[in-house]
């Protein structure tokens, strides 16, 4: 069936929320991210306002570099809760236009509006309405892309940022993609881009001219996908997601770490934070995720899934511990992350006949939660035995 997909992408979301909340910041370079510590800070930029981007600052850039580029910029910490709150309001607007809304992140969503024309008019009309609603209700701008699939919609929304609005009709897809650089496509990183450049291919149009077989010979499985993308083909469905998909916590070290004991202690702290956040949001999860970023910036991610719901710091850590035990710490660690996914509501869960979950550990966590709720999250935590368990 021919589909119509809308991609909505908030413009410099965290930064514009900050500017909206504090009119003094309007028109000024705002950088949301890690503490720059006068140029010695580690961690990265989360979002830079358009004013800051003029200085060459962009997201994922080391915060120290951003500081050097614009020492007088307004550097702000990430106010996660605030953005979640605003994001929910925006997603609620989007859901009025289609039951199938896939939230990719706080500031980005796909809508499948196939067949909703009768209710809301053409996709173009829906896109315009959504932009107006977000502007009026939340005083924020969104860029909207409309196309026959997710790939085209996403590229379209990105093309005229900020406050963009690009519609690509079914027949215009090839023509639309053709002049764009290959790096716009999903799955093309630096290496693939270089490899393509060596073949004399820099635009999507040039890539589209390759035969499917040649593309496959050069890039294997990825080649087939890239070839399809270059033709503007993408069948991936919009998967509606109502609730947050994961709760996670990360820490970038001030200085890269090799000491396994320090890594374990950090992971325990992160596990406890995640457990606390799970419990305070009344959620439980099934899968724990360990993320390690090495000093060369390469990232390592591993998962462990439990047959039962987890919500306690030490159960999360037990999973993380099992994962890290199997990892060769072959180079210094820059960042650690702990996450829990496959979330569901804690107050709705399959109960146990033998009630094994109400052990000592849960009492410890409940007591600590009460203390944290009263005095703040940093006041108390678990300690670690030398063995790391």
């Amino acid at each position: 069936m021919e589909r119509t997909i809308i991609h909505v992408d908030m413009d410099a979301f965290y930064a514009t929320v900050e500017q909206r909340d504090n009119p003094d910041f309007l028109g000024k370079p705002v950088i949301v991210g890690a503490n720059p510590r006068h140029g010695r800070g580690r961690g990265v930029v989360s979002t830079a306002s358009y004013e800051a981007r003029k200085y060459g600052i962009h997201s994922a850039q080391p915060i120290s570099q951003a500081y050097r580029l614009c020492p007088n910029g307004i550097f702000l910490p990430v106010r996660g809760k605030r953005y979640v709150h605003v994001s929910r309001a925006i997603m609620a607007i989007l859901r009025e236009y289609s039951p199938v809304v896939e939230t990719v992140s706080l500031d980005e969503a796909f809508l499948d509006v196939t067949g909703t024309e009768r209710l809301f008019g053409h996709a173009e009309e829906i896109g315009k309405q959504m932009k107006v609603r977000i502007k009026e209700q939340e005083r924020l701008t969104a860029s909207v892309g409309i196309g026959p699939n997710k790939l085209v919609a996403k590229i379209a929304s990105d093309l005229k940022k900020p406050d963009g609005f690009v519609v690509v009709g079914r027949e215009e897809v090839r023509q639309f993609l053709s002049p764009l650089p290959v790096s716009r496509l999903w799955g093309i990183g630096k290496k693939t881009e270089e490899k393509l450049a060596n073949l004399g291919i820099t635009t999507i149009g040039e890539l589209a001219l390759l035969s499917k077989k040649t593309s496959q010979d050069c890039f294997g499985k990825l080649g087939v996908v890239l070839w399809q993308y270059a033709q503007g083909i993408d069948d991936s469905p919009v998967i509606s997601s109502r609730e947050a998909k994961s709760i996670s916590n990360e820490l970038t070290f001030q200085k890269d770490v090799t000491d396994i004991q320090v890594l374990r202690e950090t992971l325990l702290q992160l596990s406890e934070k995640v457990g606390y956040r799970l419990r305070s949001q009344n959620m439980v999860g099934r899968t724990v995720t360990l993320k390690i970023r090495w000093s060369d910036f390469s990232t390592y991610i591993r998962h462990k899934t439990y047959p039962k719901s987890i919500f306690m710091g030490d159960t999360i850590y037990a999973g993380i511990f099992a994962l890290i035990e199997n990892i060769d710490i072959h180079q210094p660690v820059r960042l650690l992350g702990v996450g829990v996914t496959q979330l569901s509501r804690a107050d709705e869960h399959q109960m146990e006949l033998f009630g094994i979950e109400n052990g000592k550990s849960q009492i410890v966590d409940e007591t600590m939660d009460r203390i944290k709720n009263k005095f703040g999250e940093k006041i108390i935590g678990r300690g670690l035995h030398q063995s790391g368990r």
Partner: protein
């Protein structure tokens, strides 16, 4: 080794044992089956080291005794696809088995018997004779609730208790439980209890038909079923079975009686609209009225059905995993089924309307705790 056998006889024997052969094993020899031809009888054996099975079949003609292990999959598939004709087997000195029929000639490489694990011997064994029909009924009423979770290995089998005046089986996965007992059973020696792995139970169920009684031979580590032509051996699941009596409620005094078939159909339809992750459905119980409903907020579906039931107590809302409810209802043989309830956060006891003679059968289902909304 040289013999001739009818396709039908051989495939029947292969089907008895093929459930034991592991599909993928780190020990490749286990993907073979052992042919052992002795005294005019062909014994065929398969094992996965936990469960072993040997069955006997009589060839039409025996020329030369011998033994060989042959790849299970290709052999079984090949024999199955032949029509009902005689098959001639002839093993050469290089362990190659030549199979000849009217249709053609086939050859497979075998492995000598020494490489095939032997069936474990039992020590200090005790023998119990039980009715086949009883064993079969009790296994089939309990196997559904066996856990498949390796976190708690003791729950991965059926708990069998042989007592002086009762033969009992229990299974649970921590969310539901089944307990069935035959009270006409008598046993004079010390009570025995053991956990039988579910794979062995499944294979035993296939072989439990016809015969009046069957001999169970038991020692500390293993357990053998002596069927007339088949011997099934299994290692026992190690570990302590949980104190299940503790979780069987004694004071569930709110009785809901409902027609089994009507409830099965309702739950089946309503569950189609429940979340695929939790299969959560809701029983809204009112005097003489049961409303079964579900909703899936992700896809925006919901369903609701009303049933006439017998219920005299105060209204109650209780959540269940629909799959668990269906599994339990499947075990009920009577027209009506009884749900005995206490509260939405306590185990529900489910029994047939009437118990069989000298039988006691009950099941438990732990509810899903419902949210406050």
């Amino acid at each position: 080794m040289k013999f001739s056998i009818l396709q039908n006889d051989l495939i029947n024997a292969l089907q008895i044992i093929s459930g034991v052969v592991p599909t993928r094993s780190t020990t490749p020899i286990l993907e073979n089956i052992l042919f052992d031809l002795e005294n005019g009888i062909l014994k065929i054996t398969a094992t996965d080291l936990e469960v072993s099975i040997t069955t006997e079949v009589s060839p039409q003609e025996v020329d030369k005794h011998g033994s060989i292990a042959l790849p299970a999959k290709v052999l079984t598939e090949m024999i199955r696809s032949l029509p009902e004709i005689p098959i001639h087997f002839n093993l050469d000195e290089n362990n190659r088995m030549k199979i000849t029929t009217d249709k053609g000639i086939y050859q497979i490489a075998g492995i000598s018997k020494e490489n095939f694990p032997e069936m474990p011997l039992l020590s200090n064994e005790r023998t119990v004779e039980v009715s086949s029909a009883m064993l079969s009924r009790m296994f089939s009423k309990t196997i559904f609730a066996v856990s498949s979770e390796e976190l708690r290995p003791a729950l991965m089998g059926v708990f069998m208790q042989i007592m002086s005046d009762e033969f009992r089986m229990v299974s649970t996965d921590g969310h539901r439980l089944a307990k069935i007992a035959d009270k006409s059973f008598r046993y004079d020696e010390n009570p025995i209890q053991m956990i039988i792995p579910s794979k062995a139970v499944q294979i035993a169920l296939k072989n439990l038909n016809g015969e009046d009684t069957i001999k169970l031979v038991i020692d500390d580590n293993g357990f053998r079923f002596n069927f007339p032509k088949t011997i099934l051996y299994t290692r026992l699941v190690e570990g302590e079975y949980p104190d299940y009596e503790r979780v069987i409620p004694r004071d569930n005094d709110k009785q809901l009686t409902v027609n089994r078939n009507l409830l099965v159909s309702s739950v089946r339809r309503v569950s189609l609209f429940s979340s695929v992750l939790t299969h959560q459905i809701r029983f809204s119980i009112k005097p003489d009225k049961l409303i079964v409903c579900s909703e899936d907020i992700d896809i925006g579906g919901e369903a609701r059905e009303e049933l006439d039931v017998e219920y005299k107590e105060e209204p109650m809302e209780i959540g269940y995993n629909a799959q668990y409810v269906l599994d339990i209802l499947k075990q009920i043989d009577t027209e009506d089924v009884i749900f005995l309830l206490k509260s939405p956060v306590r185990a529900t006891l489910v029994t047939p309307m009437t118990q069989g003679k000298e039988e006691s059968f009950l099941m438990l289902i732990m509810p899903i705790k419902l949210g406050s909304s």
